[in-house]
């Protein structure tokens, strides 16, 4: 072998060794990480807080370390990826977090995939168990009775509206809204804006309309049953909103651009959730008054008499419905530090901590003792509590929840943007397609 060839050969061997060593040290580092105190995955950016939700977690993690001497590391994931990433980590037996923040509507998804640990014994033996609201426990319970998560806060859907645009209060029924909408259209304003796409549209904006119209999402076996006259009635109403330009077309697009119409007072009302106030900033009232106070913008606008709250919209003769949903904590299968995760949950389930979670997140705490705190005696919280107490309805039970809700949401968007299509035919096709796709 000549000198050049042998040098190249040695270089190749050296490069291969370097790659191998790098891989081995990576494995060792992974093992070392697994021994450290808990890792949690949330959709909250505690390292660089942008909203009151993020700030709550940042403060809580610091307080946890100070009070207990233990570390908890947060990994922030986008809200539309966190569920799939938790599931992927568990299915691939990869880097599973010790604890994960989950939203209740995805419980069916996790149960279907076997992603979460059964926490029944842990929850029922916990000192805070009897302090939880029954509806929040129900939202964490799988159809077979197992408790799969610990509820932290309980959300509600309602309406934010500009009082000067609705001087007689926000209309309770669809008929009254259409009358007001015609008036607002003459003034160059939209009556209402909302998210009219993806699962959110059904869980928050159309939920009350569906229930008050007598529409069903599913049958008792978790199969789709949404092709019914009630759903058609909702679609016809939503079609009217867009056809008459009572709502901005951007509401049909993905994302959250629909909020701008309300923030700029181009729309009189926003169909949203109790947590939405954390994102409604800055606000400009119809008279031009600006509120740029971060998460306090909504409450400041309300205190100034510019902004009001109302229960969800219904068809005449119907009762409002608000999704009985929670945001809470679950331990994924494969968690390396289950005891650490449970200890962190116990820390979070203290009255003051849960109350702070509620305030930061924009939802009522799941613990009754936390709800009794003075901070929840304001108008905003009274509205949230009243809606939850009077109008809470469980989310649809679909075997493959995410797939089913997205199929229905897409059908809604398709029917609204193509008014010539037959609603019952399209709903039936989507229903049959979903039911046939189930395993």
């Amino acid at each position: 072998m000549n000198k050049t060839s042998f040098s190249l050969f040695r270089l190749t061997v050296v490069v291969l060794c370097i790659f191998t060593l790098a891989g081995v040290s990576g494995l060792q580092r992974t093992s070392a990480l697994a021994e450290k105190p808990i890792t949690l995955w949330t959709k909250l950016n505690a390292a660089s807080p942008q909203t009151s939700q993020d700030q709550w977690l940042a403060d809580t993690l610091k307080a946890y370390t100070k009070d207990t001497g233990n570390e908890a590391t947060n990994v922030v994931l986008p809200y539309d990826q966190i569920n799939s990433k938790i599931n992927l980590a568990v299915q691939s037996k990869g880097d599973v977090p010790d604890l994960a923040m989950i939203d209740g509507q995805y419980l069916a998804f996790f149960v279907h995939n076997g992603t979460l640990m059964d926490l029944t014994d842990f929850v029922k033996s916990a000192p805070w168990f009897k302090d939880l609201t029954p509806s929040s426990i129900a939202a964490c319970t799988a159809p077979d009775g197992k408790i799969m998560c610990v509820p932290g806060v309980q959300t509600a859907s309602f309406v934010y509206y500009w009082k000067s645009m609705y001087p007689n209060g926000f209309p309770a029924t669809t008929d009254d809204l259409l009358k007001e909408a015609a008036r607002l259209k003459k003034e160059g304003k939209y009556a209402v804006t909302f998210k009219g796409s993806e699962n959110f549209s059904l869980e928050v904006c159309y939920f009350s309309l569906m229930h008050s119209a007598g529409a069903a999402f599913n049958d008792e076996n978790g199969k789709a049953a949404w092709a019914n006259p009630g759903t058609v009635k909702v679609i016809e109403f939503v079609r009217t909103l867009f056809k008459e330009k009572y709502a901005p077309e951007v509401a049909l697009a993905t994302g959250f651009d629909y909020e701008n119409a309300f923030k700029n007072a181009d729309a009189g009302a926003l169909l949203a959730g109790s947590w939405s106030y954390a994102f409604l900033n800055p606000l400009t009232a119809p008279d031009g008054t600006k509120f740029d106070n971060g998460p306090d913008s909504v409450s400041n606008a309300a205190k100034a008499g510019k902004l009001g709250y109302a229960p969800p919209l219904v068809f005449p003769g119907g009762k409002p419905a608000s999704q009985a949903n929670i945001t809470g904590w679950a331990i994924p299968v494969g968690s390396q530090n289950v005891e650490g995760a449970k200890a962190f949950i116990n820390y979070l389930m203290q009255t003051k901590v849960d109350a702070a979670f509620g305030v930061g997140f924009g939802a009522m705490p799941a613990m009754l003792s936390a709800r009794a705190e003075d901070v929840f005696k304001g108008d905003y919280w009274k509205t949230v509590a009243e809606i939850q107490e009077k109008y809470s309805v469980p989310l649809p039970f679909l075997v493959d929840y995410d797939k089913g809700m997205l199929a229905l949401a897409d059908t809604f968007t398709k029917l609204v943007s193509q008014p010539n299509l037959d609603p019952m035919k399209e709903l039936q096709a989507a229903q049959d397609n979903y039911n046939n796709s189930l395993e």
Binding site: M1, N2, S5, L8, F9, T12, V15, L16, F19, Q81, N83, S84, N87, L88, V90, Q91, S92, K93, F109, H112, N113, G114, T115, S197, E198, P248, E249, V250, A251, L252, A253, T254, G255, D257, N260, N264, V333, G334, D400, D402, K403, L406, A407, A409, D410, T411, F412, T413, K414, V416, S417, Q418, A429, N433, N436, S437, E439
Partner: protein, 304 residues
């Protein structure tokens, strides 16, 4: 009498022969790291995807289901619809990218002033990531502050284009073409520059117009490159996911949900990895058929 030394019964190798044999394997040694990486990062995942497409995953365990994922897939109207959407998207994307790319290459081949500057500007879309490009294009059509939406409002009666099924597909196609133009233009420009100038000059002296010169001389000479670019562009269009997800998320109402985007939703969002793998196998077969078709077309033209 001179005696010859006895021949050894064992055949010996001379140092020169041994060196020659070793040198023959040096290129293989040099290629070995790349081959190992290709095997680990491409071949193994591809074969595993095929295996996964015959399974279902539950709590990290694989459960053999045979062809059930494929049966469910071909019964799924949304998947069939996504194939139709892909055909529309790829068709428009291909025609626009190749025609505009070729036009730009022909113009740049004229070697006018500031050609270098034009090439730098042309390359900007190529260096921008899918997510940045998708976000940028979404902002351009945003209802309240999008520049292009504001220009179009008088003609569209203030309808937000990306909230409209047809409008959103147009935006997705335009954004994808914008991203792909640098690659196609550059490759076509390189091919055009290999066409002998003397041939073009003598054609001009014989009275051939520019269009005739291009269609009868330049294009036939660069046809192999054209076929290759067509293959790459087709595959890129069929597998496009990042830009579409950022721009429209596959919406509104599934209007821009191509098969690639549907694969992402099935596999990642719904956690049905087995069916997601089945979709990837189907897309691979479609890509393969398209590639073989183009290559066969090229072979027939060459032999004809």
């Amino acid at each position: 009498m001179v005696t010859q030394p006895a021949r050894s019964a064992v055949r010996t190798t001379t140092p020169a022969v041994a060196r020659s044999r070793f040198n023959r394997f040096v290129p293989l040694w040099m290629l070995l790291p790349t081959l190992l990486i290709l095997l680990a990062l491409q071949l193994y995942p591809a074969l595993y995807s095929v295996y996964l497409s015959f399974n279902r995953i539950q709590a990290g365990n694989l459960i053999w289901v045979g062809t059930r994922n494929y049966e469910r897939l071909f019964r799924d109207a949304r998947f069939i619809e996504s194939l139709g959407t892909s055909v529309v998207f790829v068709g428009c994307y291909l025609v626009l990218t190749l025609s505009i790319g070729m036009l730009i290459a022909v113009l740049l081949n004229q070697r006018v002033k500031l050609t270098s500057l034009y090439m730098v500007l042309l390359f900007i879309p190529w260096v921008v990531s899918d997510v940045v490009a998708g976000t940028m294009w979404r902002w351009l059509f945003q209802q309240d502050y999008g520049i292009i939406q504001q220009w179009l409002n008088p003609f569209t009666n203030n309808v937000s284009l990306y909230a409209n099924p047809t409008g959103s597909m147009i935006i997705v196609i335009l954004a994808s073409v914008w991203r792909a133009l640098p690659f196609t233009s550059l490759v076509f420009l390189g091919a055009l520059q290999t066409v002998p100038r003397e041939v073009l000059e003598s054609a001009a002296m014989d009275g051939a117009s520019r269009i005739t010169s291009f269609s009868r001389i330049s294009f036939p000479l660069i046809r192999p490159t054209f076929i290759v670019v067509t293959i790459f562009t087709t595959i890129g269009g069929l597998n496009a996911v990042g830009l579409i997800l950022t721009l429209t998320g596959g919406g509104p109402g599934g209007a821009t949900q191509t098969s690639g985007v549907y694969l992402y939703k099935i596999g990642w969002q719904f956690g049905d990895f087995g069916q997601g793998a089945a979709i990837s196998v189907v897309l691979f077969l479609i890509n393969l058929v398209a590639t073989l078709f183009y290559l066969q077309f090229q072979r027939e033209r060459t032999m004809g």
